[in-house]
């Protein structure tokens, strides 16, 4: 195994692990704020949870981007084709 493949594997793992930290913290904050809002105003729970879902999907996209980068590195790495 050459060093390029090795670097790809390590960077794929790093992309997912570090890329998950930010969205995880962000989603935690978003859910906490939504819980707070629903506790204060239970009659608005429908609207709040719908907005929450959309917002969570937006935040989650960042982590998904990292996952896609990792998959590209592992399965469709364009650099590996350059080396014999």
């Amino acid at each position: 195994m050459n060093w390029l493949a090795l670097a790809s594997i390590v960077s794929a793992a790093m992309a997912v692990s570090f890329g998950a930290i930010g969205p995880a913290l962000g989603e935690g904050r978003a859910v906490a704020a939504a819980m707070d809002a629903i506790a204060r105003q239970p009659e608005a729970a429908n609207t709040i949870s719908r907005t929450l879902f959309v917002g969570l999907a937006m935040i989650e996209t960042m982590a998904i981007y990292c996952l896609v980068i990792a998959l590209l590195l592992l399965f469709a790495n364009p650099l590996l084709k350059l080396t014999p």
């Binding site: 429908n46 879902f53 959309v54 999907a57 998904i64």
Partner: protein, 236 residues
Amino acid sequence: MNSPLTSITLFHVGPVPITLPVVVTWAIMAVLVLGGRLVTRKLSLAPSRTQAAFELIVDTVDSQIRDTMRVEPTPYRAFIGTLFAFIFVANWSSLVPGVEPPTAHLETDAALALLVFVAVIWFGIRAVGVRGYLATFAFPSPIMIPLNFLESLTRTFSLLVRLFGNVMSGVFVIGIILSLAGLLVPIPLMALDLLTGAVQAYIFAILAMVFIAGVVSEGRPAPVTPAPTPSPRTIP
């Protein structure tokens, strides 16, 4: 392990290779179309049990559209409802043994995101005209034109990557777990996968509504009358 970015070719029709996701997609389409024909064949004012159940689904879609877009749902019901129904059934098609959800492959999701991209233009032009639609790109100020243009492309891309990433990662994780421990161990993950599939179908439909509503409401002059009140159903 198979790469999630490639798909298996089953057979060829002429020069066109037919892959497994294509077959599953056509099967889902057939099921949805035939089911729809069958259910709506004998509609009556005093609904039977089946009709009442399906009317409930349509009613839920309607109320979601009304709440999210603040417009009458009639022009959007068919598109949004079909989008939701297809993605929902596609995500849950992994319940059938041997079937992999077609949404776990990039091409199906790209087609769905492209549909939303075209639908935003179509509904936008239909609601506010070509001039009105083009004016939405300069919405807060003309400085925003390049950014708004870029946004309409990147949000389509993120729609595609979100659905692909979520469904594919579910399938992938189950594949890894299956190769480690066979019996009964993947079941909780499969249950989680079903939840993710339902939520992703909902989010895809909601985001499509939000994008369409953005164009439709931005293109209009400032509303004189307040937005139509949400259906009384939602008020407890």
